[in-house]
């Protein structure tokens, strides 16, 4: 591409400067600071700082509340992201067929992209209100069967449902695009060999979209760690009794309500390491098992 490129010394740097300034100021410096703060005792309102070595980590890692939040984060990650991939997979396989509902579904299933998690949380809070919502009659019959305000499990289920709802558009669109790029000739030849439509879904379509499935899984994992914040804050504020306090919410509460900047930074750093190692694991280990043959 040599002849097709321009030769200027400073212009390209100037062109990329706005973007570089933004990511240095609001990405690299904050990450460096979080790392740095996790080794210092930081006083709120700019009261100075003091190097304390591994003390923050010791404090956080011996705190049972931290481990409970970590466990809930993991549980949420596994349940919410598997559902948020599997349901769109079914929908994408169905929408890939030339059936009557395929066209309206392709439009409507993207709508949640415009609804914020927190807005959905406000609506879900009403719909699942134990006395006013849709399950109120059930509560009249069996008192106490549904009480997300008291029972942590019910609240958690509500959270997972909201997260899955929000995750449908992106995963559906990516998986559908993958299915549509499966060459028609493969369908035809398999059909001629006597493979039924069901069989073709299992043995051709799903294996062919493994790269897309892999991609949405990786992204959905990160999204379930970070994206649930709005839903939690609007619906449960971490309650009842901390049952829905995921790490991202705990960091917010510790940092912005408890003014424990060092503790919040330490937990942020741990969460960053978790997210990065998960991504690394998925890319270096799992990706090898995904075949990209076309």
């Amino acid at each position: 591409m040599n002849n097709s490129q321009f030769h200027r010394r400073w212009l390209p740097l100037l062109l990329s400067l706005p973007q570089l300034l933004l990511i240095i100021l609001f990405f690299y410096i904050p990450i460096y600071m979080a790392f740095f703060w996790s080794f210092t005792l930081e006083r709120p309102f700019g009261g100075g700082s003091q190097f304390v070595g591994m003390q923050n980590y010791l404090r956080v890692l011996t705190d049972t509340e931290f481990w409970m939040a970590a466990e809930r984060t993991l549980l949420f990650m596994v349940t919410a992201s598997s559902l948020a991939v599997i349901l769109p997979l079914f929908l994408a396989v169905a929408a890939d067929r030339k059936v009557r509902l395929a066209m309206p579904a392709r439009n409507i299933l993207v709508w949640p992209k415009g609804i914020a998690g927190a807005s959905l949380g406000v609506v879900f809070l009403f719909i699942f209100n134990p006395f006013l919502g849709i399950l109120a009659p059930l509560n009249d019959l069996f008192p106490g069967i549904w009480q997300p305000g008291i029972d942590g499990k019910d609240a958690f289920v509500m959270l997972v449902a909201a997260q899955v709802w929000s995750g449908i558009p992106f995963n559906f669109v990516i998986l559908l695009a993958g299915l549509q790029s499966v060459p028609a000739s493969m369908h035809h030849s398999a059909a001629m060999d006597g493979a039924s439509a069901w069989r073709r879904i299992r043995d051709i379509q799903i294996p062919m979209i493994m790269p897309q499935l892999f991609l949405v899984f990786v992204l959905e994992f990160t999204e379930s760690v970070t994206g649930a914040f709005g839903i939690i804050d609007a619906m449960t504020e971490g309650g009842p009794g901390g049952a829905t306090t995921l790490l991202v919410y705990k960091i917010y509460v510790d940092g912005f309500k408890g003014y424990d900047l060092s503790g919040a930074s330490t937990q942020s750093t741990i969460l960053m390491i978790l997210v990065i190692s998960l991504a690394a694991f998925q890319f270096f280990y799992l990706e090898k098992k995904v075949r990209y043959e076309r």
Partner: protein, 305 residues
């Protein structure tokens, strides 16, 4: 194909119908409840029967909450985010692809890494930076000793302070510190024939002329896709606008909606009005999605979330 696939197709229709019901259910409930009067709601509780009080509920929201102002804030912030993103992503990708520079790979790697860690993982310290964006300047002056020199000359220790919290720029900027868009344009530029810039060079066009007259018109549909995705992304942001705006007048619509209190404890919450608020907050992005479907889907497949 000529074979019959009735069984599969029926199953497909059932799956799609279930999916659409799952998506539409909360939206319909919101809309229906927003039309009921508070008195009816208290009397009948949850009901699928639409009422006639939609406009009354809307006017309650307009008169008693900050939501109209906050919707304006959301429009400004989301438009700002989408516009700035389109410009900076386009320029960076252009610099990487169309110039022969040794540091091109470094820039691209620096931008790409940012996608690993969303703002939710670094918001504590990002908040500190936003509360004083001169922080790196101060650190630089201290580190190099220039601060001492200035102190000796002018007599006071230099410490600059500039907060972008509670401003539109502060709401938008940290959310722009990621690689979304740069990758999109880079892929697109690389898919264009190399002869394009070669021909432009032969005709004597400089890099700016090439960018303005050839590349920009060619990238129209990419701009549209990226703009819409960024607008929707900005509109639905929650954590950052929540911490970066300290007064109700500067908060965004989604934050304002989540803050609408369900009323006096012990009484039935004013749910019809709250649902009317939810309708107001969601109607702009929903209309965009319903009517600009093609660009949105394109944008979703081109950007990574």
């Amino acid at each position: 194909m000529i074979e019959k696939t009735k069984g599969v197709d029926r199953a497909a229709n059932i799956v799609l119908a279930t999916g659409m019901i799952f998506i539409l259910f909360p939206l319909v409930i919101t809309l229906v409840t927003a039309t009921q009067s508070y008195e009816d709601f208290v009397r009948n509780g949850f009901s699928f029967m639409p009422g006639t009080h939609f406009l009354d509920n809307i006017s309650i929201v307009i008169e008693t909450t900050h939501l109209p102002r906050q919707i304006l804030n959301s429009i400004i912030m989301a438009t700002m985010m989408a516009t700035i993103k389109c410009v900076i992503a386009f320029l960076t990708a252009y610099a990487i692809v169309y110039f022969r520079i040794r540091y091109g790979g470094i820039i691209f790697a620096m931008v790409l890494v940012t996608n690993l860690m969303p703002l939710e993982l670094r918001f504590i310290t990002t908040y500190q930076v936003a509360s004083n964006v001169m922080l790196p300047v101060n650190a630089f002056l201290e580190f190099t000793g220039i601060a001492r020199i200035i102190e000796l000359i002018s007599g006071h220790h230099p410490h600059y302070k500039l907060s972008i919290l509670n401003t539109y720029f502060g709401l938008a900027a940290p959310l722009l510190a990621n690689g979304t868009g740069t990758f999109l344009f880079r892929q697109y530029f690389r898919s264009l024939p190399a002869d394009l810039s070669k021909a432009a060079k032969m005709d004597g066009a400089g890099p700016i002329r090439f960018l303005w007259d050839i590349l920009m018109p060619l990238s129209k549909s990419n701009f549209a896709a990226l703009f819409l995705i960024m607008f929707l992304g900005g509109w639905t942001q929650y954590l950052w606008p929540l911490v970066a705006a300290s007064t109700p007048e500067m908060q965004t619509a989604v934050v304002g909606l989540a803050r609408l209190s369900p009323g006096i404890p012990g009484e039935v919450p004013q749910y019809p009005a709250i649902m009317a608020g939810a309708v107001m907050v969601s109607v702009i992005p929903l209309l965009m999605i319903a009517f600009m479907q093609r660009h949105i889907v394109r944008g979703l497949t081109l950007t990574e979330k």
